[in-house]
């Protein structure tokens, strides 16, 4: 029984860590399927995290989520304007957007809450047990006793899959990503599709930032995303640009991160830094495993 509880707690932690990554990577899947790679995701998540903090402090957690989504979409719109509208290089634009977001969020945060952010308490999402399902041993608490953003992440996976692979819009989007000039010749408004999918991805990244603040950490800190946006981009590659793969990739990263808590609980002695490295090394390994067996969208990164 004790082992059940332990493993259940470990899996619950893994899902909690995976949630923001799953959200951001799901959105980035839509973006990349249309041929745009957005490395500004890191900054977009950060902007979402700060917007969530401000919104939630003022009007409660759900308003925080809304503010975060809007902030994410706004920043992605700036990215789209430069990288899609003006056809500037996507990698460089993304780097600049992230840099700008770090500066902007840091400045606004200090302006609003002071250098230390002392006494900043953000109203957060409490875990929401789904009656019945949460009673399943081990997996129940991990999957069905989580804060609301986790359920949003779960729900968005089939939704994104359906739009991408079962609708005309999804077909046009994927065609744009594979061969933009052909899609254009077939009458698809590729720039509109790319801008739209980038903004959708930005909304997801904003939501990911909100879930980080409102369902995981409980407060804002400068640069708090700490590379999660970049990891989300890696997870999209690892997940072969498919919602199912992306979900598994995010969970793998979550499990690797949560091992740290498991080992602490078991009282095993090992430098914690090894556990900090582990998720990144596992992601590299997984990338080496899937690379070559999968092809990126043909026009990915071409502006």
């Amino acid at each position: 029984m004790d082992a059940f509880l332990l493993i259940g707690g470990f899996l619950a932690a893994a899902v909690r860590v995976a949630t923001p990554l799953m959200l951001a990577a799901t959105g980035e899947t839509v973006t990349e399927r249309s041929g745009v790679i957005n490395l500004g995701l890191e900054g977009t998540m950060l902007a979402g995290a700060l917007a969530a903090t401000i919104g939630a402090t003022a009007w409660g957690p759900w308003s925080g989520v809304l503010c975060a989504i809007l902030a994410g979409m706004l920043l992605a719109a700036v990215f789209a304007l430069i990288a899609v509208g003006a056809r500037a290089d996507q990698i460089i634009t993304g780097t600049a957007i992230t840099l700008g977001a770090i500066g902007l969020t840091g400045t606004v945060y200090r302006q609003l809450y002071g250098a230390e952010g002392a006494g900043l308490t953000v109203p957060t999402f409490a875990p929401l047990a789904i009656p019945g399902l949460s009673q399943i041993p081990v997996l129940g608490p991990a999957l069905f006793d989580q804060p609301a953003p986790t359920y949003l992440a779960f729900a968005s996976l089939p939704l994104v899959w359906w739009v991408l692979f079962r609708t005309r819009l999804g077909l046009a989007l994927r065609a744009t990503g594979e061969a933009a000039s052909l899609a254009r010749a077939a009458g698809v408004r590729t720039n509109l599709i790319r801008a739209g999918s980038t903004i959708v991805g930005g909304g997801f990244a904003g939501l990911a930032g909100a879930s980080l603040v409102l369902a995981q950490v409980g407060t804002f800190a400068e640069r708090m995303t700490a590379g999660r946006g970049y990891v989300a981009v890696a997870i999209v590659v690892m997940g072969r640009w498919h919602p199912t793969g992306v979900a598994l990739g995010a969970l793998l990263f979550g499990v690797a991160t949560a091992l740290q808590y498991l080992f602490q609980t078991l009282g095993l002695q090992a430098p914690y830094q090894l556990f900090l490295m582990l998720p990144y090394l596992l992601t590299l390994l997984a990338l080496a495993g899937v690379a070559g067996r999968v092809r990126a969208p043909g026009d990915l990164g071409r502006s």
């Binding site: 840099l99 500066g103 890696a234 990338l287 495993g289 070559g292």
Partner: protein
């Protein structure tokens, strides 16, 4: 260089936007910009001891990335390679106690360069063996390097007292000489020499030509020029890593004299901006490196004297990059990220 005019216009616009933003947020924009200026250029000491000291790693990393980007290898992991160099430099700097200064310094710097190259060898191998794109793999290794530094300063390299998360200071002999009356170390001279050498390599040697050929079109280079583009690409990646590692070694040997966490305030990422802003041209890297060094040096003064958070300067840097990027977007045809890097690397018709 026509790019330089754009860079200056971009900086002016970035600072203008900062001023408007600060004014809107209720700061005294005039005082903030004044503090920024005097912190960067206000005195000989400010210029040498902060601006130039900050520019050394940016110039070096920018030069290394110019090599990689010219060959079309998108190394986003200079931050991690910098830390790998810093770890190796500290390890050597603590052990060369009985050596004369030239030997100690040479050992430290070459060890740092080797460590940087070794760190990027992992993504280079993953790319050649498994086809893992280097943008992602170099990026991921940054986080591993940061954790490794943390492990080192709380483990094998921790100071003797075992209290603070930092190393003991490296031995005197392994420290770079300073310009009398300032904190500017000899690494700056090495950065200047490096830029000169790279300029010669890029414009005068066959290898520089091959680098460009691979960057412009690896298949064409292989077919028409019989160039092993994989080998050239991997070499460019290794060289850029070695130079980033060297930058990390110089930071330990010339500035911090010890290893600690957050040794780099993001040099590896700013270095990307420096290389791109410079159009991958060594002379441009020199100018852009000093420019960004000045911005970061001034940011500290701005926070101290005008109460404006130093991070605000990142917004200026972002605006500078985007303006420079937009100014150089070609009007014709479509370009991939690779192609845009190549386009900048094409034979400089206006440059020099």
């Amino acid at each position: 260089m026509s790019d330089l005019r754009w860079a200056l216009a971009a900086v002016a616009l970035g600072l203008g936007m900062l001023a408007v933003g600060l004014e809107a947020a209720g700061y005294d924009a005039g005082a903030a910009l004044g503090a920024l200026w005097s912190g960067a250029f206000g005195s000989w000491d400010a210029f040498t001891s902060t601006t130039l000291v900050r520019s050394v790693p940016l110039i070096l990393i920018g030069l290394g990335l110019a090599i990689a980007f010219r060959a079309g290898a998108l190394n986003i992991g200079a931050e991690g390679q910098f830390y790998a160099g810093a770890i190796a430099a500290t390890w050597i700097g603590l052990r060369v106690v009985d050596q004369p200064a030239p030997v100690a310094i040479a050992a430290l710097l070459s060890g740092a360069a080797l460590a940087g190259a070794a760190w990027v060898a992992i993504p280079a191998w993953l790319k050649l063996r498994f086809g893992v794109i280097e943008v992602i793999s170099t990026l991921l290794l940054n986080f591993v390097a940061v954790a490794l530094v943390s492990l080192m300063v709380q483990g094998p390299l921790q100071e003797r007292g075992r209290i603070y998360p930092q190393s003991d200071p490296i031995t005197e002999a392994a420290r770079l000489p300073l310009l009398p009356g300032s904190r500017l170390h000899a690494g700056f001279v090495l950065a200047l020499v490096g830029a000169l050498i790279l300029w010669a390599v890029f414009s005068k040697t066959l290898w520089g030509f091959r680098l460009r050929a691979v960057g412009v079109g690896p298949r064409a280079a292989e077919i028409s020029g019989r160039i092993d583009s994989q080998r050239i690409g991997a070499m460019a990646l290794l060289l850029s890593g070695a130079i980033a590692g060297l930058a990390g070694g110089m930071e330990v040997s010339g500035v911090s004299y010890a290893l600690f966490q957050n040794l780099s305030p993001g040099y590896g990422f700013t270095g990307i901006a420096v290389a791109l802003l410079a159009g991958l041209h060594p002379g441009g890297v020199l100018v852009a490196g000093i420019l960004f060094g000045a911005l970061e040096a001034g940011a500290g003064a701005m926070q101290r004297d005008a109460g404006v958070p130093a991070v605000a300067v990142y917004v200026v840097q972002a605006v500078v990059i985007i303006v420079a990027l937009l100014a150089t977007v070609p009007r014709d045809g479509q370009l991939s990220p690779r192609a845009i890097l190549k386009r900048r690397a094409l034979p400089p018709k206006a440059a020099d």
